[in-house]
Symmetry: C2
Subunit: 358 residues, 2 copies
């Protein structure tokens, strides 16, 4: 009819077309029981005729005070994040859980301060925020608080009022270190993920590493170092890999292996790092586990595909994600955050560790 491109039809247009009130049209879409079937169908027909696809999500959100999205805040970029199976598994479980209540995930990738920029958080269209292993004091966390958005933190220090789920990182690290000690190892190297918010990379002392801005990093390191210390092993070299690429990690592992007194065992803060260490060893013709033992962390699927399969610290990533999702839904339902949950870990011994060479 109208020749010119008209603006999007609205509820009112449909109402006018049918000759009913706006409320009735709204009900036709949202509460079918509030009007007669006949009228409802007439409304729906008119809507289709006019090209009205249903209530505008934004306007609806304004009226209902509910968006239907959860902001997922990362420390890293999207790619780096997802190249880590540990994250994608967790995220998937989380997504599946909140999907049940119709919530989608809004991805807020990291900027330069250990998390997404504050203004991205302030402008995010979301009912709740999930923080996944952000750096301590990340601006994003402040922004969440300023907006008083409900918050779920994963693998992070406790935030008052927020729900929290984390992993027994220290316990896992202790088990890993003890396992190697039990095998007779005395010369170690620690391969660490990025510790500070600034990418750096390179050797660092245990003291420096203990100041990492990432809790899981700190916890794992402390677990390793303290346990080794109880056996009188101190001054263990730590090498931080900057960025998340396999190449960088492999290079970092190489540095540890090329040291004067080559370690007989490598404690790696993630399976990804451990796999890179395996590659570095192979490059040097070092036999694993005969000449070198390697242990990872997380027990992601690739850990068991490797040759030799990785000895690693297993955590139930799926459960972690699901739990975070449940916590999110609980907060969204207006309930209070339960006490923080720490999930257990378990050492899984496979082929990448063996007795220390003589």
């Amino acid at each position: 009819m109208a020749s010119t491109r008209r603006r999007h039809p609205t509820l009112d247009d449909v109402a006018d077309e049918v000759g009913v009130s706006r409320t009735t049209v709204s009900n036709a879409f949202n509460r079918p029981d509030q009007l007669s079937t006949a009228l409802r169908e007439e409304v729906l027909r008119a809507a289709k005729r006019l090209g009205y696809a249903g209530p505008d999500p934004v306007a609806r959100s304004l009226a209902t005070r509910r968006v239907g999205a959860i902001a997922f805040m990362l420390d890293t970029g999207v790619s780096a994040a997802f190249s880590d199976p540990a994250l994608s598994i967790t995220l998937d479980a989380l997504a599946a859980e909140v999907d049940r209540e119709g919530h989608a995930l809004l991805l807020l990738p990291g900027g330069d301060h250990g998390g997404p920029p504050a203004d991205r958080v302030l402008n995010a269209q979301a009912d709740l925020a999930v923080a996944y292993s952000l750096a301590d004091g990340a601006p994003a966390l402040r922004a969440v608080r300023d907006r008083s958005l409900p918050l779920v933190v994963i693998d992070q220090p406790y935030v008052p009022g927020a729900a929290r789920v984390s992993t027994d990182d220290r316990g896992g690290a202790v088990a890993a270190a003890r396992h190697l000690l039990d095998l007779g190892h005395r010369r170690f190297g620690i391969l660490s993920a990025q510790c500070l918010s600034e990418p750096r990379g390179g050797p660092m002392t245990a003291e420096e590493a203990a100041k990492s801005m990432f809790r899981d990093n700190r916890e794992r390191l402390t677990g390793y170092v303290d346990t080794l210390a109880t056996a009188g092993v101190t001054g263990v070299p730590v090498w931080e890999t900057s960025g998340t690429s396999r190449e960088q990690a492999q290079q970092a592992a190489g540095k540890l292996l090329d040291a004067d007194r080559r370690p007989t065992a490598l404690l790696c803060m993630s399976d990804e790092l451990a796999l890179s260490a395996l590659a570095a060893a192979r490059q040097r013709g070092l036999s694993v586990p005969d000449e070198l033992s390697v242990v990872g962390f997380d027990d992601t699927p690739p850990a068991s595909w490797a040759e030799p399969a990785l000895t690693t610290v297993r955590q139930d990533l799926q459960r972690k994600g699901r739990l975070a999702g449940e916590l999110a839904l609980r907060l969204l339902a207006g309930r209070k955050a339960p006490p923080p949950v720490t999930l257990p870990v378990e050492l899984v011994v496979r082929g990448s560790t063996g007795p220390a060479p003589d």
Copy 2:
């Protein structure tokens, strides 16, 4: 002051507190040049005092008709999707590109019909949708059209009005098949990703596979089959892997390898599949490339880590993502979609292919 938990402060509250109009407060946040610095700072101070963190994103969106989010529609779940490096690289580049204009990504994972459920799309708070390799006729696509959301499609059939970027899948498949023919191979197997929206898995004829609901699937298959046919090789067995797990893929590859007349070459529709095929070969003590040649598709990072490193068809995933992002921004700026772009591919010959055994 007030003892009871008060509702969130709004612009008006701040305006009242300072004794100015609502517009002025809005300007203090959005257009600093519209008021005196002194007043602006007073407003900001008052806002802070009241715990007002800035304009509500939803209300702002309603007024500005802009959300600041892009809906990314997937065929699969989050985890399955991201375990594929090809996707995470593409997505990362896309995210980085649209981030420049302040757009975040809203993830809409797949349901049961080759894409996210229609109502999820209808309710998504987003300015634009990106469809990544959805099944033909996915309900999500219809929903996008009904909402008349701008659309960018990646690796999918052309949709009128939408911007499109895709890969020369067929050309790549042709190159891969020709390479193997040139090496003297005459007995082939094709390892295919999931073809239909229903998970199935198992052997299928080339005819069935050509009816795949996924364009890249069809294209690659056609490229393989047609090229082999030109050399007189027909009746090539195709095995579809259901789901996306490594285990399933490995099993499927095994089925091809355990056939009566074992193929000497495997054409795999992705690097992930090819890596699984490598594992299946190893399991059977088959030497690659002496007894078996394997070629992948995509040239994702793990392809070059494998032993032997994968011969594969390289596509520039980063560029694909960036381009999709640029197209998105262009549509959002109100400009028309340019003609569809098809990105070139290139065969990368590495260690996993060699002359056919006698």
